[in-house]
Amino acid sequence: MKCVRCLHDTARLLTKAPDGSGAWEMYACSRCNFTWRNTEEDEVIKPELRDKKFQFTQEPEDLQILVPIAPLKKK
């Protein structure tokens, strides 16, 4: 299914309400790691209503790395 933040077809069902009540479902995107619950506010879970500043339009690999991966040491 479509991710509400990056709009790629990379989201799936993550989990359902643990008490079995069916109160909600959660979804997760494997590309941008956004997760959401189907009972949240419309402006959080409907792509057309979300604040554009919080949409993800970059490529994941272009994001900054804060802790660089150190070169491998020979054993």
């Binding site: 643990p18 008490d19 590309r31 941008c32 956004f34 959080v44 993800f56 802790v67």
Partner: protein, 475 residues
Amino acid sequence: MFRDLREFLAKLEENGQLVRIKDSIYPEPTIREICRAAVDVPNGPAVIMNNIKGMKGMQIAMNVHGSWANIALMMGLDKDTPVKDQFFNFLEAWDRYPGEIKNIDSDKAPCHEVIVKDNINLFEHIPLFRINKWDAACFFSKSCIVSKDPYDKDNFDTQNVGTYRLQIIGKDQICIQALAFHDIARHVTHAEEQNEPLPVAIALGNDPVLTFMASTPINYDQSEYKYAAAINGIPMEITKALNSDLDVPANAEFVIEGEILPRVRVPEGPFGEFPGSYSGMRLQSVIQVKSISYRKNPIFENLFMGRPWTEIDYLMGLNTSAPLYNQLKESMPEVHAVNAMYQHGLTTIISTKNRFGGYAKSVAFRLSSTPHGISYCKNIILVDEDVDPFNLEQVMWSLSCRVRAEKDVLVIQNTPGMPLDPTSYPAGMGNKFIIDATEPTDPDGLLRDTRLIESPDSKDFEKVIADLQKAAQKA
């Protein structure tokens, strides 16, 4: 004083500092609305919520450290204790380092009452929720994360217990935000250059002092556990993790164990952070979860961060101030008190004796060279030793009547900065802004001849007046 979170919650309840919301609520947006309200009321109480839709039988504790009253109770003080007195009380406790460690057998540790190793789904055991509206996912914002330096595995004191934000990205995967100057980043780097996974344990719902120490900047070779024991005044009870050699808090409500995958980075954030704004998205490390264990009827404790002040400001206020004070005091005994309560010390007020002309400015430079001050302390205000830096009315008086901008205000450009500070650009670079609001001393040009009004000796009458006022209010 408090062996675990439960004992502290009981203490808060005894003192009217804990309330329960029993109404049926949706996790979003109601939890954040309740938390904002709890921290905004005077002497904000802790809040327990136990009727969340889809999460029957689960309970959440919020705002546990969310007022000066709660912090005072954690320190064993009366809930009305003024902040400056809390600061000096904390310094005394701090000097009792190192406290005692007590090892509990793994199979007797309360945190191991229930153990889950197969088909792990964090959401089945923990009532997770989105803290702020534009956060990328559910986060743990108040956990103690334990890790060891792979090159120094047998050293108890370099074992790190720190609070780093954790984004739940799957049933059994968690993204961890480490910044380059964090202790855990050093552990990650050492594991990654060997291409080895790094074992970590995440303890949720701890005794209030351990949580407090996990967000305290201490030296790399000092033990958070021994500090927690010293300040709590009772031995710190730890036990062995189930999957590694790590030591975990034996009385934690939950312990999640896993490994940081070597040489992997995935998108993390945004997350509403302590400056009151959202951090951006970055690539960060991933923890693969191997087990979850918990106490019976566990309490999930988390932290709401909004526009300051919220719980994080109370939690980090004194524990940011105390180590800075101690580090300054070592080489500059003239320093009287340090208030680094504003966004983890981004703004810091120091009261100091001005030993000779320009000395106070040197105190600011010393602050800028402490491990924490290097990147965090950017706005530095210096006041005289008879000004209470926790009393902003007095600080403003100093600014008003002691500062002549052309000689008392300095800006030092392009110094290290704190990446989460929205003014830090590029992220990690910053400036130092120093205001010397102390009275000039020789050979600096003196103020015009000024005679201060002396304060009369009023201490005894403070109690008399307060008691009379209490009686008058009752009548």
